[in-house]
Structures are given as structure tokens and as C-alpha cells.
């Protein structure tokens, strides 16, 4: 068969006119250096970030150092708010960290096999990822839906009763809060571990297998070390998101779970108008979230494009 590419162009009409005039424009000098141009392109983003992220956070810190609402009149600077956080909100902080930690551990334990199966065995990956967007629509709907499920006489009550499970006893319990938190951040864990696993050549597993390693040995000695960065990044990302948990404890939790920092901030700040204390709680939460993110970025080697 004749290769259409091998056709030499020597048979092209020889009279093709190539003297073609293109209108000349006057030369315009470029008005800025590449670096200057870069700064100009960044200006809108930087302005927004400074105005609505950096300045409010700095202001939050300032307010956290003032008594009650005194910053509005003559600021009385004090560390009382932080003392109060340390004394009366220690258990709230611990509860927040505990819930975030436990739900992230659940994510890791259940998410690792999920990610592995997703990367190695499943061809309908796009479908799975589409379904995984449901939790992303927000913890509110998630907690909401779960509430209906657990409600006495809920729409699925009959189903669970038929299976001999009394789900209603889990309403307003730590279990329900942890479950809904874990489901919300589950996709983040799967995506992080999945990204790490998809960089592990399946041939390495096969090589380990042919060298006589049992499946669990392959996992411990090959897969786990190679996906370590994804595990850390995923865990910290879930942990960071869950530190700010709000809707799940409020809708599904007992008063103990409802002591989480975000909820307390809302109560102190927007209900009781104790801005100083709310700001101090906010600063504590921010520092925790920021530390987690910082460590996470170190491990994930540039998640979020960095």
C-alpha cells in the first residue's frame, strides 16, 4: 500500500506565487519588562488575597488581644482571651482534635483499599469519581441526609429494621458525627493516595510477587513505602478540613461533640458578641490548621500546584 506521507512535493505546481506582501505595522516597543508584566498580572489576585484574607486575619489577631468589644472604642490590650481559651476551652480543643484525628484515621483505613482498587482494578473510574462528588457538595447535606436516615420512622427505617439494626440509637452520638465527618473527607484521602499509587508502576508489585513476596509482604515492603507521601498528604488534608467541622456535630452530635471550636466561635462571636474570645478561638484554630497544611505541603511535594 502506498504511504500517503511518503509523497514528495516535487510535483507541486511550480508556478505557486510566494511573493506575498503582508501589510507592515509600525514597530511598537513593549512597555514593560517580563518581570514587571508578571507582577501586573498578579496584582488582582494579590490585592484580593491581601484585602480579604491577610488583613482580616491580622485584624482577627489584633481583636483577639482586646477585652470583650473594647477594640471598638478604646482598645484595652490583654491576653485574657487566650487564658480563657487555655482554661475553659482545653477540652473543646481536645474534642476537636480527637474528632478530626479519628475521622481521618477512619478515612485512611477505609480509603487506602478504596484508592488501590480504584487505581488498579477499576475501568469505570470516571463514574466512581463522579459519584465521589456527592460528599463535596458539603457536610450540611451529608449531615442532613444522615439525620433523616437515623430519624425514628425515617424513610429507610423500615429497611434497617428489617435487617435487625436499630439505627436511631446512633442519632446524637459520637459515632454519627465521626461517620459523617469521615464520609465528607473520604474523597480527599482517596485522591491523595490514588495520586501516589498511580505513580507506582504495577510492574514493581509483579516484580515483588515473582521474587516470592506474599501479598502482605508486597504491601508492607513495596506499596506502602512508595505511597507514603500520599498517605501523609491525604491524612493531613482530611485532618485539616475536619478541624473546622461545624454542621455535623450540630446536627448529629451530643453536647460533647458540639463543643468543637468552630461551633463555639459562632456561639461566642455571633450569638453572645464576645468578639475577643471568638477571635482568640479563631486564632488557635487557624494556627492549628495552618501547621497541618504546612506539614502537608512539605510531604505532598506541591499539592495545589505549588
Amino acid at each position: 500500500m502506498k504511504n500517503p506521507d511518503a509523497y514528495p512535493m516535487t510535483h507541486a505546481p511550480a508556478d505557486v506565487a510566494l511573493e506575498y506582501q503582508v501589510a507592515e505595522e509600525p514597530v511598537r516597543q513593549s512597555f514593560a519588562s517580563p518581570r514587571m508584566r508578571g507582577f501586573m498580572l498578579l496584582a488582582p489576585a494579590v490585592t484580593v488575597a491581601v484585602l480579604f484574607s491577610l488583613i482580616p486575619l491580622a485584624y482577627l489577631f489584633q481583636v483577639s488581644l482586646t477585652n470583650d468589644s473594647s477594640f471598638f472604642f478604646t482598645a484595652e490590650y490583654t491576653v485574657n482571651n487566650y487564658l480563657e481559651v487555655a482554661n475553659r476551652y482545653r477540652s473543646a480543643i481536645l474534642e476537636t482534635v480527637y474528632l478530626a484525628g479519628m475521622s481521618s484515621i477512619l478515612d485512611l483505613v477505609f480509603g487506602y483499599p478504596f484508592a488501590y482498587i480504584l487505581i488498579r482494578k477499576i475501568r469505570y473510574r470516571e463514574f466512581v469519581r463522579t459519584m465521589m462528588t456527592f460528599p463535596l457538595f458539603g457536610p450540611l447535606y451529608l449531615a442532613f441526609g444522615l439525620f433523616y436516615i437515623l430519624l425514628p420512622n425515617g424513610p429507610l427505617g423500615g429497611l434497617f429494621a428489617g435487617l435487625g439494626i436499630n439505627v436511631t440509637k446512633y442519632l446524637f452520638s459520637q459515632g454519627a458525627v465521626l461517620f459523617s465527618m469521615a464520609v465528607f473527607t473520604f474523597p480527599f484521602m482517596v485522591m491523595n493516595i490514588g495520586a501516589a499509587l498511580s505513580n507506582v508502576d504495577p510492574m514493581l508489585e509483579e516484580a515483588a510477587r515473582t521474587l516470592g513476596a506474599k501479598p502482605w509482604q508486597t504491601f508492607v515492603r513495596v506499596l506502602f513505602p512508595l505511597s507514603w507521601s500520599g498517605i501523609i498528604a491525604g491524612f493531613l488534608m482530611c485532618f485539616g478540613w475536619n478541624l473546622g467541622v461545624f454542621a455535623q456535630p450540630q446536627l448529629l452530635g451530643s453536647p460533647k461533640e458540639q463543643s468543637v471550636i468552630s461551633l463555639q466561635m459562632f456561639l461566642k462571636g455571633l450569638v453572645q458578641f464576645n468578639y475577643g474570645l471568638a477571635a482568640a478561638l479563631g486564632v488557635v484554630l487557624m494556627v492549628m490548621a495552618f501547621l497541618v497544611t504546612w506539614v502537608s505541603l512539605r510531604f505532598s511535594r506541591g499539592a495545589l500546584g505549588a
Binding site: N3, P4, D5, A6, Y7, P8, M9, T10, H11, A12, P13, A14, V16, A17, L18, E19, Y20, Q21, V22, A23, E25, V27, Q29, S30
Partner: protein
């Protein structure tokens, strides 16, 4: 139409000097190839001519006018990329029209020009297709049509065939040459493939380490390499280290020669012009320029060397003979029917007749 000159052009990236004081004068309508290994600065040189990067020092001139300050889009050049670089979201016709459209050429003229160009590369039927629907060779032809559509002053080629398979490369390189000949445009072609360079160039610039090692015709480069690098990079070569024993003036109209002693061997080769008696040198002789003579005698004649066949390899059209002489292994290739008589001659003493020997200064010995 356009003469291209590079005057002392250098480019520094951080600590590395990618292009080191390059001078070149490319005549109007000439087809010049920059040949060299990867990282030798040939692509950087081309991109400076294209205006995609600025030289650190030196001047680039088109027709005697400095173009350093002229941005790429105002230089009116055509550049062919390693991969075709067709815009994937535009049809073939829109790709070809692009250069004219951005210059606000009237629609009628654009359409006429696109039709001409499609006709020229014999893809008239393909105007409405998307680039992804074409084969590799067709894509590269569209790329050529696109670069010619704006009637550029200079054609620049950055290894345009390296992504294609071998058969396609062979036919397309002649297509490129043909287009250049018909349009009579100045062309600069970058490649690491010497067969490509030899096939299409008027003149070859061999580059290494940011410098032009040698420029000249194919014959100059192949038969009269002036540096060790050129001798080694272009074609296969035997290198024999020795010392100049005498300068031999050439007959009138002939180049001058030098005598070289390398152990027991006596060689006579072309003098590059800068050698003195006592200089450490390398003598180069190509395997195909060595005759293997089935004789065994002592010889005082230069370039006639006694040795013993160490290995014979049948390579089909040629036979490769490796001869040991004075501790040095010399490769010779024999062609023609005579090659078959060599096949059973391992361990036999023979005489080698060396022809077209060239001599260059041994830089490593000089440095030591």
C-alpha cells in the same frame, strides 16, 4: 532576499555559556545546517535568530539591519518545530490562515493564499480537517504550508523531522529542500542527524559546546575535518595519536602535508595549517579509506602499515576488518565483491594502505 548574519553572538543561561561567540554569515537563498550533538547550542542559536530568546551579547542582522530589538512576531520568519506545533483547536485551513489573520489581511486574500498553500503541499482536500485527523507526515506538511503562508524572509527549522519515522524523514527532507529551492528563501536548519545535514545543505556548521567548530561544504566537513570533534562526530574515524616529524609543502595547487610518527607507524596527512614539528597530533583515517592488502612485508612508505587481522565482521554490504598494529586497533571497511575474499582471513598478516589521512592538533595532549 535576506542575508542573515550573526556577529559575535553569545547566550548565557545562569552559569553556562550555551552559545559562545558565534559568527556566521549566511547568504541570501543559502540553505545552511547547524549540526551538532544535543546541548551544543544549535537550537539556542536558532531560537535567537527567531527572536524567541534574546542574545546575551552580539548582534543578529537581517540584510545588514540589526534585529535584536525586533520582537519575534515582527521579524517575519517561519519556524518549523520538532513536533509540528499545529494548533489543535483550529482546522488545517485556519492553521495556515493564522499568520495572515493576525496581521489583518483581507479575508479574500487569506482564502486565496490558504488554497495556494494547500495546493502546494498537495493537501487541497484536507482544509476542513483537524490536525489530529492527519498522519504525521501530513501534519508536518501542513506546518510547512503554515510557515510559508506569510511569505517569511527566513525559514528556520528546529529538527522538524526528528519525531517522524525513518521512511517519512527521508522523503520529507527532500520536500523541504525542494520548497526552499523553489521559494529561494534563506534557510537555517538545525539537526543532530548528519545524513539529514549532508542531504540538504549548501553549507554545514558543525557546533560543539556553544562554538562553531567548522563550517564548510559536505566535502570539507567529511574529508578535511579541522578539529578532533568534527573528525569524530561526522562519520566513523580511526584516531591515531602521534607526533609531527616534518612539514611537507604540497605541490602547486595542492594542500600542504605533514609527516607523523605514531610508534612504528609513519603517516602522512593533510596539514590543517597550524602545526609545527614536534606537536602532539591525532591522525584520522576513515575505515572506508583503508585498503586491506593481502601481503606481508616490512614497509617504510608512509601510510602503508603492517598489521594482523584480529577480527572480521560480515555486515552485509560491507565487511569490517579490525587490524592490530603496534598495539593499536584500526578499523577498516571493505565493500564490493572483494569483501568476500576477506572472510576467512582472521589472524593473517596484512598491509593497510591508508588514504585521505587528516591531522589535527591533539588538544588533550596539549593541555596535559
Amino acid at each position: 532576499m535576506t542575508r542573515v548574519q550573526l556577529l559575535d553572538v553569545s547566550k548565557r543561561f545562569g552559569q553556562t555559556l550555551a552559545v559562545d561567540h558565534v559568527n556566521a554569515d549566511i547568504a541570501d537563498g543559502e540553505f545552511v545546517t547547524l549540526l551538532g550533538p544535543s546541548g551544543c547550542g544549535k537550537t539556542t542559536t536558532l531560537r535567537m535568530v527567531a527572536g524567541l530568546i534574546d542574545p546575551t551579547a552580539g548582534q543578529i542582522q537581517f540584510d545588514g539591519q540589526a534585529v535584536n530589538a525586533v520582537p519575534s512576531h515582527r521579524r517575519n520568519i517561519g519556524l518549523a518545530f520538532q513536533s509540528h506545533a499545529l494548533f489543535p483547536h483550529l482546522s488545517v485551513a485556519r492553521n495556515i490562515a493564522f499568520g495572515l489573520e493576525v496581521k489583518r489581511t483581507p479575508k479574500v486574500d487569506v482564502q486565496r493564499r490558504v488554497a495556494e498553500m494547500l495546493d502546494m503541499v498537495e493537501l487541497s482536500e484536507y482544509g476542513a480537517r483537524m490536525p489530529a485527523q492527519l498522519s504525521g507526515g501530513q501534519q508536518q506538511r501542513v506546518a510547512l504550508a503554515r510557515m510559508l503562508a506569510t511569505d517569511p524572509r527566513v525559514l528556520l527549522f528546529d529538527e522538524p523531522l526528528s519525531a517522524l519515522d525513518r521512511n517519512l524523514r527521508d522523503s520529507l527532507k527532500y520536500s523541504i529542500l525542494d520548497l526552499q529551492r523553489r521559494t529561494k528563501k534563506t534557510a537555517i536548519y538545525v539537526t543532530h542527524d548528519q545524513s539529514e545535514a549532508f542531504a540538504i545543505s549548501d553549507r554545514i556548521f558543525v557546533m560543539n559546546d556553544g562554538r562553531i567548530e567548522q563550517s564548510g561544504t559536505q566535502l570539507d566537513i567529511y574529508l578535511r575535518p579541522r578539529t578532533e570533534f568534527v573528525a569524530n562526530f561526522v562519520g566513523d574515524n580511526n584516531a591515531i595519536a602521534g607526533e609531527v616529524t616534518a612539514l611537507v609543502p604540497g605541490a602547486p595547487g595542492e594542500p600542504s602535508l605533514v609527516d607523523v610518527r605514531a610508534g612504528r607507524m609513519r603517516l602522512r596527512g593533510l596539514n590543517p595549517g597550524n602545526l609545527r614539528v614536534g606537536d602532539k597530533v591525532l591522525a584520522f583515517v576513515r575505515p572506508e579509506n583503508i585498503d586491506v592488502l593481502m601481503e606481508s612485508r616490512e614497509s617504510d612508505e608512509p601510510n602503508l602499515i603492517r598489521g594482523r587481522i584480529a577480527q572480521i565482521v560480515f555486515e552485509g554490504p560491507t565487511v569490517r576488518v579490525i587490524v592490530e598494529t603496534d598495539g593499536v586497533a584500526i578499523r577498516a571497511t571493505a565493500g564490493g565483491l572483494g569483501r568476500l575474499t576477506l572472510l576467512d582471513q582472521e589472524r593473517r598478516d596484512v598491509l593497510l594502505r591508508l588514504q585521505e589521512v587528516t591531522v589535527v592538533r591533539d588538544e588533550s595532549a596539549a593541555a596535559a
